[in-house]
Each structure stands twice: as structure tokens, then as C-alpha cells.
Symmetry: C2
Subunit: 250 residues, 2 copies
């Protein structure tokens, strides 16, 4: 927890919050903070700044907050991800959130086991929990949206085109001949298959929608490593673009 | 297991191997392979190719192997990593191996808990196991070397300069002003600190040795995500270089 992430209901006065539970334990046990210390803080979907500990014990912490800065800019990348094994899903949601992704679509695919869709980890509050952990890690406040699409065909035929809009469309496909783009991209929709990859029919459907199949190289990565690797590698193309816009404007 | 990784003692004839145990269970249960099927195979630290199942039951599999191709070229990147929590270490070793890293140095640092060095996961055979899993995942055969250096100061003062040699020297430091290099690099030594980062003294010691502190952006990543992210992002600078050499030679 690199950022104390606040909710509107934490506020007991306009600039004062009261914290209990998991976040309090973190302040006490991990940070070993004391009265008078300042913590990095932010309001969920709001600004970031700092919080001064006014009083602190094992039951409760009162902090005065001063939130003036914008959170980091979102990554202009929609992630379309074949639903991973529940155990991996949690880590992947945290990682994707910490990387700055704001739109995550979990989809069905031939190699996604049907039983995964019954996992309790897909309940809204369980997903929310992972996103919060990702934001706290990355010192971000803007909550990603996670959408579930259990059926591949209707998702691709009826929804994906609107989701991808005018972004560059890529699908990670280990056996693809093309490597990742080297040009700057304004925005991106990136599809990543399950362990074992999308089947040829699925790649074909995505290709029909304008997705280019690209490979990260000769090595096959786990989905978890692939998400971090691909997103970071491609974020560079996006970042360069946004830096240009932000820093070089007259 | 995308590659059946063979050891010299698997061979019962010059081109025939006999497999039992974990790899056999994978062939039976996960791949659901049968006699006559071909599997991707490779010899540890040797060539890759394919293996034909000659006979297969619950006890043993005999396969005829034909290994003619070179494994993927190693990544010209030495990883210097503050020893992570034992639970994360296993996943990080697998990930680093699957990304093609061949030299991994696990080092002590102010924020590395001393108790981590007593973990059974640091025993040579336990480490070996994770490297093998990473190779099987990535369809690679070249075993990485993992070196343990529990003490930061003697490591940096007496060993690091020789390890880094004439490679570009970078240390990931979330609060650094400089971002990652965009130029092509021949080879790289990348240092990544523990959760919470290297302390200023450690950054100073690394800087004295010619390491440039670079940041991946405003978001703080877990060590696990940082390894995949940084390595993939920087591998691109290295890959471009090696592609140039390989593809554009007259």
C-alpha cells in the first residue's frame, strides 16, 4: 500500500478522515506510522496528496487530508483478456490495475474452462478488492472497469467493434509472424488469449475485426507474465505519444 | 510445459528417451497425448526439435527424439535483484527464465529481511526446479545461472563491476527523474530493488559504479510486475539490436 486510498464515507469533516480495519492495520503494522506522520493519500476516482495523522491507536486513525494533485494519466489501452484461472485472475487484475489500465474485458474462449465463470472471485466485490489493491500499489485513484463476457462469438460479433473504436487493434498470438509495432500509437485495444492461446477460429474472427496478430518473440510466456510484458512494452509506444503532447506543446 | 525438457540421463539409446514422473503425468493428463503423437522437445543446454511417442502408459513413456534447431538466443541482460520474499521468489525465477535471462544475481539490501536468506526455496535444487519450469514454459533449453550475494556492500564493491563489464548499467528507481533509454543497447545489467526500493545509500553506491537510475513512470509496481515490465520493455532495445545483426548482415 503505497497510497492510502480513501472513500467518500471515510470523511468525518471536509478535510478529515477516520480509518479502521485493513488500512489501519497497514498504517500501524507495516508502516509503523505515528501521530504527526504524513502519508501519501488519494480519494477513489479523485485527487492525490497527503494525509497527516492526527491521532492513532489500534482501533482508529484520524487524519487531516490535503488532496491537490491529479492522479497519473490513464493508459490508453483496453485489455481484452481470456478469463484466466481464478487463482491467477486476482494477481492479473492487480497487475493490470497497477499498470494503469482502465478498461478490462474478461472473455470466454475455447480454451477457457467453463467452470472458471462460477468462481467466487468473479463476484463484483471480490473484483473490486483486487482493483483497490492495484490502485494502492500504483499510487493511482482511478478505478478500472471490469466487464465479463462469457461467450466469445457474441462478444466479438456484437460488442468488440464498439469497444475498440478507433484504437489500434492487436491480438497477442505467440505463433504470429509479425512482431510488436514500433510506431507511436494514440490508443490501443490489446487481446490476450488463455494459456495455450486463442484457437485459429478465434484468431480469424479477431482478424476480421481488424486485429493484427503479433508475437512477443520465440518464447511462450504465461498469461500473467504476458500481460505485464505486453502492456509495458506497448505502453512505451503510447507514453511517448502522450509525453509528446504534454511536454512539447508551446 | 510447452517443451518436453530432456536431461542426458533420460536417453536409453542415442535418439530415444524414457520419461517417468512429473513429465510423464503432464504428457498423460494435461496433453492427453497418445502413441504416435509428436511433442516439442529439447535437451537441457542443447538443441530443440520434436519427440515421437513410441509407447506410453501410466508408468513410462518411450520417445524417439530428433533435435536439430538452436534454442532461442539468450537475452543480453544480467538481472541484479534484491532477494524477494520466498513466495514471490519462485514465480519471479520462473518469469525471469521464461523471459530469456541467463544471469540472475540475488542480492542483499537494506530492505531485504535477513530471514529470507534462510528460506528452503534458496536451496540449489529448489532454485533449479523453478528454472526448469521457466524453460519448459518458454520452450528454451539454456539454463540460467543464479548467484546468491547476501551482503550488498561487498557485492557492489568487489563483484558487480566485473559482472556488469561493458554492458549498459541501469538501476530501476521509482523516484528517478530519468525514464528508460530509447536507444538500442548491445547488452544491459539491470538492478531492481526490493519492495520499497533501494535506500539512498544503495542508489549512491550503484551510481558510483556507473549505474543510471531510471523510472518506469509514475506508478509503483510490485517487484514481480516490475521484473516482467522492465525486462520486456528493455528487451525491445536489445532485440532490435540483435535483429539488426542477424537479419541485415550481407
Amino acid at each position: 500500500m503505497n497510497l492510502l486510498l480513501l472513500r467518500p464515507d471515510d470523511f468525518i469533516k471536509p478535510s478529515q478522515v477516520q480509518i479502521r480495519g485493513r488500512r489501519l492495520r497497514h498504517i500501524n503494522k507495516t508502516l509503523k506510522a505515528k501521530t504527526g506522520d504524513f502519508l501519501k493519500a488519494g480519494l477513489l476516482n479523485g485527487k492525490i496528496g497527503r494525509a497527516e495523522i492526527l491521532c492513532l491507536n489500534q482501533e482508529v486513525a484520524d487524519l487531516r487530508v490535503d488532496l491537490t494533485e491529479q492522479p497519473p494519466p490513464p493508459l490508453a489501452l483496453n485489455l481484452i483478456l481470456a478469463l484466466p484461472r481464478p487463482k491467477m485472475l486476482r494477481r492479473i487484475l492487480q497487475a493490470a490495475t497497477s499498470l494503469g489500465i482502465k478498461q478490462i474485458h474478461l472473455i470466454g474462449s475455447w480454451r477457457v474452462e467453463k467452470s472458471y465463470w462460477q468462481s467466487p472471485f468473479l463476484e463484483a466485490d471480490k473484483i473490486h478488492q483486487q482493483l483497490i489493491l492495484g490502485l494502492e500499489q500504483a499510487m493511482d485513484t482511478q478505478l478500472p472497469e471490469v466487464h465479463l463476457h462469457p461467450y466469445f462469438k457474441p462478444f466479438v460479433e456484437d460488442k468488440l467493434d464498439a469497444i475498440a473504436g478507433d484504437t489500434t487493434r492487436l491480438v497477442a498470438h505467440p505463433v504470429a509472424a509479425a512482431s510488436l509495432p514500433t510506431t507511436q500509437l494514440a490508443s490501443l485495444t490489446l487481446a490476450i488469449g488463455p494459456e495455450g492461446g486463442f484457437i485459429p477460429y478465434e484468431i480469424e474472427k479477431l482478424t476480421e475485426l481488424g486485429f493484427s496478430a503479433v508475437s512477443l518473440g520465440p518464447r511462450i510466456l504465461t498469461v500473467e507474465v504476458a500481460v505485464s510484458s505486453l502492456v509495458s512494452r506497448l505502453a512505451y509506444n503510447l507514453e511517448s505519444d502522450s509525453r509528446k503532447t504534454h511536454n512539447c506543446a508551446p
